[in-house]
Symmetry: none
């Protein structure tokens, strides 16, 4: 079955609100084997809404509409839906009773605009709203389904989760869609594609599986999608594709379950009862911040140093002043001394360090903006590696933090 999602609202068209509803609806429909072909956003304009209803319901089996069901003057969706299905608005006493209960609970007076919310197009099936006053609606025409939901995200989510998805689950649709994402880092998108080679060798040639490359500053996500008759066979196909991908580019993959690098590292350190300290210059606290986003990080993360000045590097991390003056703060030697100093001072098993030039200014011919040294220290070894993360300050910080955590992950894996 194919679906089309129509989101209604001027606030979307002027870019004031980011449309999160359409992604949620699409994702949920996928789980019951309904595939979204198109998403359309239109304003609070009767003719344009009518036109979008007509084309969508012509070409798709399922249409999901959100928005414009509120009590104010610019909410015209219900009127347009009535027109589209050539029917009229009638008072629904069940809905009215529900609104009265909600109003009482919230201590709101029942004014006319609340009562009007109980007006619904004749002939529709009501989808109850567990979180608000505007009822949802379904029209079933032949083998096609037309749903109307409020634009308020949690009200829409309630209707999807409690009514629409169970409705299709009961209909037992013949196929299911499942996704799996392999998150990679430390390799560019083009090189990743080259290492993977012929995509058909990974996903087969029967057209039921697809592979997508989704790059971002932190790395490239490889998303495998399968469309199968059952959840079991979908899982089997995903496992198979993942295995083939891992055989080709496994060393760049840090998670296949949506986890971030800081989560993966946290699990490792917790399991092995190891402790970590971080000394940051150019990343300015981003690495510590990411590590402490993980619940329970206090078990393994003991201390972070943001040594933004040279004096801080010497005083907090015992980096010799002469080392800084002879090699410069952005150097292999200083990165190593920072990692070593952080580990010794914080009395941890491992320490990471980062020193570089995040820009946009401050570079020199020998040490351009973007240059970055990442250091690592444990009781057996202390070393540093050189990188260049470009001249955009925020992306530099993201890339540097990602590379530092990836360096740690690979070192931990080797030690296991």
């Amino acid at each position: 079955m194919t679906a089309e999602i129509i989101t209604i609202g001027d606030e979307l068209l002027i870019g004031q609100v980011i449309n999160t509803n359409q992604a949620y609806i699409a994702e949920q429909l996928n789980t019951v084997g309904i595939y979204c072909d198109r998403m359309t956003t239109v304003g609070d304009n009767e003719n344009v809404i009518l036109d979008s209803f007509t084309t969508a319901f012509e070409r798709s089996d399922v249409v999901c509409v959100t928005g414009g069901l509120g009590p104010t003057h610019d909410d015209i969706t219900k009127k347009v839906v009535s027109k589209f299905f050539k029917t009229e608005l009638v008072m629904n006493n069940d809905v009215l009773a529900q609104i009265e209960v909600l109003a009482q609970r919230r201590n709101i007076a029942m004014i006319q605009s609340n009562i009007d919310q109980a007006l619904v197009p004749k002939g529709c099936t009501i989808i109850p709203n567990s979180a608000g006053t505007a009822p949802g609606m379904m029209f079933e025409i032949g083998k096609k389904y037309f749903f109307v939901m409020p634009g308020v995200p949690y009200e829409m989510k309630g209707m999807m989760d409690e009514w629409i998805i169970p409705f299709f689950e009961k209909k037992n649709i013949s196929s299911v869609v499942r996704h799996r994402s392999l998150k990679t880092t430390g390799i560019g998108e083009s090189m990743l594609a080259k290492e993977i080679g012929n995509v058909d060798d990974v996903i087969g040639r029967d057209g039921t599986t697809t592979l997508a490359f989704l790059p971002n500053p932190m790395g490239t996500k490889l998303r495998i999608t399968v469309k199968e008759k059952s959840i079991d066979s979908a899982q089997l196909k995903l496992n198979n594709a993942e295995q083939i991908l891992r055989s080709k580019i496994g060393k760049y993959v840090y998670s296949s379950d949506e986890k971030d690098l800081e989560d993966v590292i946290g699990e490792f350190l917790t399991k092995h009862k190891m402790t970590l300290a971080v000394a940051e210059s150019c990343t300015g606290g981003m690495i510590s911040n990411r590590i402490t986003n993980v619940p329970g990080a206090s078990i393994y993360f003991l201390r972070g140093y943001v040594t933004y000045s040279n004096q801080a590097k010497s005083e907090e991390l015992n980096v010799p002043k002469e080392l800084i003056s002879s090699h410069g703060a952005v150097s292999k030697e200083v990165a190593e001394a920072m990692a070593h100093g952080a580990r010794v001072n914080a009395k941890t098993d491992i320490a990471l360090s980062v020193t570089g030039t995040a820009g946009p200014t401050g570079g020199s011919p020998e040490k351009p903006v973007g240059l970055c040294w990442i250091g690592y220290s444990d009781k057996d070894i202390t070393f540093a590696m050189k990188f260049n993360f470009g001249d955009n300050r925020l992306r530099f910080k993201e890339r540097a933090s990602q590379a530092a955590l990836e360096l740690l992950r690979r070192k931990l894996l080797k030690s296991e």
Copy 2:
């Protein structure tokens, strides 16, 4: 002029990625008097893409397309664009040269897929990509404009800001839309609305100005939008509305030019030649990270301490062990001692500190999850204030970092 935005990508249709591009493009086009009528999202499917191009370019003056320009097999936009404009892909040597420069700078080998990115439809105008390898394209047909940009948000934003918006600004379109956002923090949305009172007193009654309340965990943004004949009259109206708002709720406003708190504080510290250190426990480096997002932060930000363990608080910040054992790490006394210790050890004019329970677990009846003490120290005074930021770990960190920076801003303002 009317516009239509077409975003291409299977990842959008399955709901894996939330579409932020269309909101950004719509908002930017608004500033040059171009109003978006529709937004459409389609998958990586040639016929559907072609169909969306045809209907959009028929009914709108401007079409903006993003997505599907990458180097991998699922990126088919360029091919479809060529087909739509009945032309062919040709090698563009200028683009190739730019890609080579970028590859060299990033130390990436020039493989075939990188070279192929320099293939562009014959007859298009190239929109340079300052942040990546895929070029943007413009087709000008009569008085209509068709733009193609990459789906990577920061590459698309670069093209909008540096090329497309200036292009239309030069064309001098007949009406202009201007927005101004007053960013507030430290007050809830409802209370803010109450203090502002009748909105018409702020924006007038002629329908050319609107005021929107946009709440987020960092505070509430008040957005004023005016539609005027000239930039000058738009600015005048914005100034007037801002002045009225400031007279009502000025003390909560930290910026009216899209700056963040860390930018505002950075300007203040730079101007007054003051230095800052930060000692963080529960925020885990987020405050240092935010401060160092600002270019030039190294002038005033000298040192950050992420003292996640009690031992770290004692060793790095000289917080007496007895103070921690008698009052607990999350206490007024420890917050004050942390701020004082950070200022003395880092030898700065000012220091901030944060200690709290970010959750999701670890609370007690007396000290529930969400409790947070924020400390401040300068040569004249050391104090701490109590907050509660709720039980969502990431939102706790955001709110706590925002409250700490706002506390600093207000203290700095008073001292001026």
